[in-house]
């Protein structure tokens, strides 16, 4: 049974309908949101932990969600913040600079048994990891999630012009990475 976001929210506000409505919401968006995080953090265990944290936050704050933006946009923003915060903490915790964290993620991409695909696709993932965090997120939102710039602007609270520039830079860098590196 597939309900609209408005119906799910209305059901969630009912005293006896919370668990059922929330279950529907999780099943509706879990895969999309999981992959948003997984592409950023690479490791499944990390992604699994983070996605569950996201849903806990959604549960705690869904009552106060105002329909000023789309529900999916709001969920996406929580995911993005959770993943970026995780990467920043990881960087600080191990006293690594960003390049070292990226090297670690690049290694995971290369040697992860849960990673299939030929060399060019592995290379693409390494190229994406080499991007600065926020630029990586912008690229993934546009390239994989095919998100319009206006929606990206709501998620990241950044202007459309800045997002376009960021995406263009990211795509060009990846192209160079793919064509020049072995």
């Amino acid at each position: 049974m597939s309900l609209s976001d408005e119906e799910i929210l209305a059901r969630f506000k009912e005293k006896d309908g919370q668990n059922y409505a929330f279950n529907l919401l999780v099943r509706k968006y879990q895969q999309k949101l999981y992959w948003v995080i997984r592409r950023l953090v690479v490791d499944h265990d990390d992604a699994n932990d983070l996605i569950q944290n996201v849903w806990v936050k959604v549960w705690q704050n869904l009552d106060s969600f105002k329909a000023e933006s789309q529900l999916y946009t709001w969920l996406y923003r929580i995911c993005a913040n959770e993943a970026l915060t995780f990467l920043n903490k990881k960087k600080k915790r191990f006293f690594l600079n960003l390049e070292d964290v990226d090297a670690e993620l690049s290694e995971k991409v290369e040697h992860d048994p849960a990673m299939t695909g030929d060399q060019i696709e592995i290379k693409l993932q390494k190229a994406i990891i080499s991007l600065p965090e926020k630029q990586r997120l912008v690229f993934q939102m546009r390239y994989y999630d095919e998100m319009p710039y206006e929606e990206m602007s709501h998620v990241l609270n950044t202007s459309v012009g800045a997002l376009k520039a960021s995406y263009h830079h990211a795509a060009k860098k990846i192209e160079v990475f793919l064509t020049t590196r072995d």
């Binding site: 592409r39 806990v56 992860d112 060009k172 990846i174």
Partner: protein
């Protein structure tokens, strides 16, 4: 709303090679993962609710911690003050009181019960005597007791030798 074609055309103009690649990530998950995830999520939510009920982290907040510490110290000091305000006087038995009354009052017994500081305060200030005058007096009288006292009071070997 942008169409998918618009996004593809955009990428074709920026990175044509990238545009040719399939838009799939090659990450995978175990079979059944997404079937189990909603249950795991609800379990975590319930665990978080339970943890919040017993969460005393608020007590570790600086403001609360300082207030609690201040209250605790106040209780400790108040208890200490109240307990020592009326120290339990040594309860003397009737026999002990009688014994004290029967004891002769001597100078030694008085001196034994007077605080040394109080006694010192009561003593007249010794007359200020210049060191040289003091030496002359010692020489003049050659009193053994006075000599001993002088030696005990002075570290100056030269002065002692001088007196001797």
């Amino acid at each position: 709303m942008e169409a998918f074609d618009d996004i593809k055309n955009e990428l074709e103009s920026i990175a044509p090679m990238l545009n040719k690649l399939p838009r799939t990530t090659r990450f995978t998950v175990d079979e059944g993962y997404f079937d189990e995830l909603p249950t795991q999520v609800m379990d975590r939510i319930h665990a978080t609710k339970t943890r919040r009920m017993f969460d005393l982290s608020w007590a570790l907040q600086p403001r609360w911690a300082v207030s609690l510490a201040a209250c605790f110290m106040g209780i400790v000091f108040a208890s200490f003050f109240l307990l020592n305000r009326h120290p339990q006087a040594q309860q003397l038995s009737k026999a002990q009181i009688q014994q004290l009354l029967n004891e002769p009052v001597t100078t030694e017994s008085i001196l034994d019960n007077i605080d040394a500081e109080d006694l010192a305060d009561a003593m007249p200030e010794p007359a200020a005597v210049a060191p040289d005058t003091q030496k002359q007096n010692l020489k003049k009288h050659a009193d053994k007791k006075a000599l001993e006292e002088y030696i005990l009071d002075n570290d100056d070997d030269a002065a002692i030798i001088d007196v001797l």
